[in-house]
């Protein structure tokens, strides 16, 4: 049987485990903590996190650019932003430790991750822009809700 040279450290080497089994349980505990935090946020829904941090900029090309670059802080509720970030953190540890991506070469890691990220971002952009356009059509035109 081949001896697997698994990397047994997480958090950039700050937390080391003795065996692969221990690492899996350790990552599971970490993911559980994140999930519990998410559930608590989802149930309490703090009022301060329900309104965007910033309001949109008005007037001119630079304002438009600022609105695009700062869009997560202008157009999103901070609570949703927190959920997205925590979900990505969870996805990272599931891929890196449960799927053993940590043990792959750097080139393979980048090929898998950046290809997926690019395609998913593109898909989301296209579909949400289109969805927003249809919303405007429903709102500003006399189109039945369930045509």
């Amino acid at each position: 049987m081949g001896h697997h040279e698994h990397s047994l450290a997480i958090f950039r080497g700050r937390l080391k485990f003795k065996s692969i089994e221990q690492k899996i349980w350790g990552v599971f505990i970490f993911l559980s903590i994140i999930t519990i935090v998410e559930v608590i946020f989802g149930i309490i829904k703090p009022q301060s996190l329900m309104v965007p941090f910033m309001s949109s900029f008005e007037g001119g090309f630079m304002a438009t650019m600022a609105n695009i670059f700062l869009s997560p802080f202008i157009f999103m509720k901070p609570l949703n932003l927190i959920f997205i970030v925590l979900t990505i953190v969870k996805a990272y540890y599931i891929t890196w430790d449960f799927m053993h991506m940590r043990d792959e070469t750097k080139a393979l890691r980048r090929m898998v991750v950046w290809t997926a990220i690019f395609l998913i971002c593109y898909l989301i952009l296209i579909l949400l822009v289109e969805g927003d356009y249809i919303f405007e059509v429903y709102k500003n035109n006399y189109v039945k809700f369930d045509f």
């Binding site: 599971f28 449960f98 792959e104 070469t105 998913i120 249809i134």
Partner: protein, 236 residues
Amino acid sequence: METTVATTASQGGVWGGGNQPLRASYGKMMMWFFIVSDALTFSGFLAAYGFSRFKFVDAWPIADEVFTHFPFLHGVPAPMFYVAFMTFILIFSSVTMVLAVDAGHKMKQSKVAMYMFLTIIGGAIFVGSQAWEWATFIKGEYGAVETKGGKILQFLDTEGNRVAIGSFAESMHTTATVHEPSNGIWFMSGNDQTSYNFEEVKAGFLANDNLLIRTQYLDENGHPTVLSREGFYCKN
């Protein structure tokens, strides 16, 4: 296992499939191909969901008011608890799967069987939960009015509690019947007969001053808009 694959494969030489790009065996490489394509499939589902939400962004149901049920706890409001439970099931079954693979590498047969069994149980609970949620997703006992445009109007009392249509609609004599394909033009049929017709609901609404109408539209605080009765039309 990997070493066995590597030695067999390298016997074929570079052009015979013996090469190992990125130090990943053929099987592992194909597994990564599968994972990426699987991720893209589910991204397609989720992005389509986002598309639908963005189409109706001002009238989408609030998750807290939809996912309030927990199996065997009928009538107990538990917003999002079942969703949280399913998330844990999902994480736990991925843990048992990884442990099963690890035990397999160490040739521990009974451990593999146990972890695989737990994974299957977890998967069954998750899929079963999804089925249960879908089956009990929209189940109301209050009733509502659907407008010609497809919007839903619900009825509330002044405290904001739902009121069943059956409790205030006035019963009137009606001669309306469902148009079935067996009557008249054979290929045409009408809508289902509702428990109360529009005139009955309207009469009941006008007769009760303490009733309010709630629309699907969300106000600036993200709550469905409740229409005010301050106007001549409701004074009857």
